[in-house]
Amino acid sequence: MSASGLILHPAEPPPPAARLGPAGWARQHLFNSRTSGVITVLLVITLAALLAIIASWALTSARWGVVTDNLRLFLIGLYPPAEAWRPWLGLMVVSTLTGFSAGTWGGPLRTTAVWLGAAQLLLAGLMLASPMGPVPAFGMVLGAGVIGAGAMAARRRPPSRRLLRWAWLGSLPLVWLLLGGITDGVVLPPVGTDLWGGLLLTLVLASVSIVLSFPLGVLLALGRRSSLPVVRILCTGFIEVVRGVPLVTIIYLADIMLPLFLPGDVRIDRVIRAIGGLTLFSAAYLAENVRGGLQAIPRGQLEAAHALGLGAIAIHRFIVLPQALRMTIPANVGLFISLLKDTTLVIIVGLLEILGIGRAVLAQPEWLGAQVEVYVFIAVVFFVLCWTISQASYRLEATLGVGRR
């Protein structure tokens, strides 16, 4: 400090210590007056009582057997048990990529990797307590291990980032193929998407819709600002129509109406129809988020880019979109989190994602009355997923310096 010449008098006393001890903090924030002291005490007692009630229910009277006994259903639905290694292998592919990416890029991917690893260890524990037994549990532990090993390997010898990006892009169709199998395949006998279910289906619906709706939404946002009237009107019309209709309706329409418009011999898979509905819905909202970001870019940026002779495509790719997308990260992450939760709506067209499986499980006579356990479990699963996404996005914002400017 003194080197920068900011301190004028060497004898000036140092500024008062900003840090309070824990006791000092409590006095200042919890007990700074009689009223606040009373409120603090009352709230603490209430919270403790609530926690005690919940804990005693969870530890003594709750029938968690409904979760462990049906764990396979919750995780992969009616996917044939003999083929269950395929979703696990798919998860392993994702784990490997996550590990390598975490070691290469750090930041948000490290957060994701940590949570993905933790979730797999947790699942391993649940599997041990379930009839699924130690083999898949071992697979989960292996998955967590692969994440750590990949991260360390990438730290030591960073792989090509371009290769990793392509690997991520390729992993989606690869995993889809792995899950769906090949017609007449001996190694990978086909497994119809009507058998996909549970958490597996939830994740497939959410991740594919997110990946597809992102570029579509960006294109719609750009189209809405296009100077070509036809493009502009089409994009605006699409966005406004989709945003004006409830998601449930769109999923119904995608499921029932789409086949009516297509020639009779063209059959689109039910899961794909649902993904289509979810994608269109979230693309329309994403387009509006991105449009907000586009509008926030100062005119001077475009003028400078034009003056340098950059063409329209280069301006968007290097100047406009990087800034606009960065600004819209918080809004888009919020959108993706709600999309993840909205996947539960596909229950209306008969798809059994994790919530649908929950309802099916509750219909079994032996688990009558175990609603609370089932819904608490599903709530926890969703919370962990959403928490991971939002933590990763905070790291992403910090890494990209949003709000720093």
Partner: protein, 252 residues
């Protein structure tokens, strides 16, 4: 400083009876001006006189509705190819810098040569470093614009424009957004650039700079050119009453 040989050369910028309207507002009212290669022209005048608009028509950031503008033998029309070609020949520096905040200083300078000229990254970056040395801030290459002072940012902006190896540089009030102590570092770079033979059109109120560097000065008011002349004439013996009054006002 005025160089008589300039008068004979073919103009690199030819502006002929240019008119422009913003809606109902007639902002350029028949402006004509020729700039010779290597000439430094300073445009000045009260705010709203159309001086910024005039230089922005030269690289087509603004369109003109009547008259002709020919830059380096190419006439500015709605043809996009012409515009792209001309913008490659003209560098521009703005009042508010307009650096790209998400790119490092080095990337700000190297982006256009890579994307527009198709240079390899290594070449563009080594050229960019040379330019950053020329404007005196090579040590800032890896920083982001927001981490730099205003004067440094404007010097980066000059380097960025020079990276395209333009034949003409336009300056739109380059020092008006700067704190007083930073104005000189930018003017110093501009002086060096003028000495290197660059054709420059500068909108500025830095009269000291104009007196020292300009070959000709252009006084604009209400969308028209009121007076053109070498600095000696403009400062010592302005021909027009309006020029005299304006100079008195800005000198206090």
């Amino acid at each position: 400083m005025p160089d008589p040989s300039l008068e004979d050369a073919d103009p690199i910028i030819h502006i002929e009876d240019v008119h422009k309207w913003f809606g109902e507002l007639h902002v350029l009212r028949g402006v004509s001006l020729d700039v010779a290669p290597g000439e430094v022209v300073v445009v000045f005048g009260p705010s709203g006189s159309g001086k910024s608009t005039l230089i922005r028509t030269i690289n087509r950031l603004e369109t003109h509705q009547r008259g002709r503008i020919i830059v380096d033998g190419i006439e500015l029309t709605d043809d996009i190819r012409n515009i792209a070609q001309i913008r490659r020949e003209i560098g521009m520096v703005f009042q508010s810098f307009n650096l790209f905040p998400h790119l490092t200083v080095l990337d700000n300078v190297a982006l256009a040569p890579i994307q527009v000229r198709g240079w390899r990254r290594e070449r563009a970056e080594s050229d960019a470093m040379d330019l950053l040395r020329r404007v005196g801030i090579p040590e800032q290459a890896q920083k982001y614009p927001a981490q730099l002072s205003g004067g440094q940012q404007q010097r980066v902006a000059i380097a960025r424009a020079l990276a395209m190896q333009p034949r003409i540089m336009l300056f739109d009030e380059p020092t008006s957004a700067l704190d007083p102590e930073m104005i000189n570092e930018v003017l110093e770079v501009m002086r060096e650039l003028a000495a290197s033979g660059m054709t420059m059109v500068c909108v500025t109120h830095e009269m000291g700079f104009a007196r020292a560097v300009a070959d000709r000065m252009v006084f604009m008011d209400e969308g028209s050119i009121v007076e053109i002349g070498p600095p000696a004439q403009i400062f010592e013996a302005p021909q027009e009453e309006r020029t005299r009054r304006f100079l008195q006002q800005i000198r206090h």
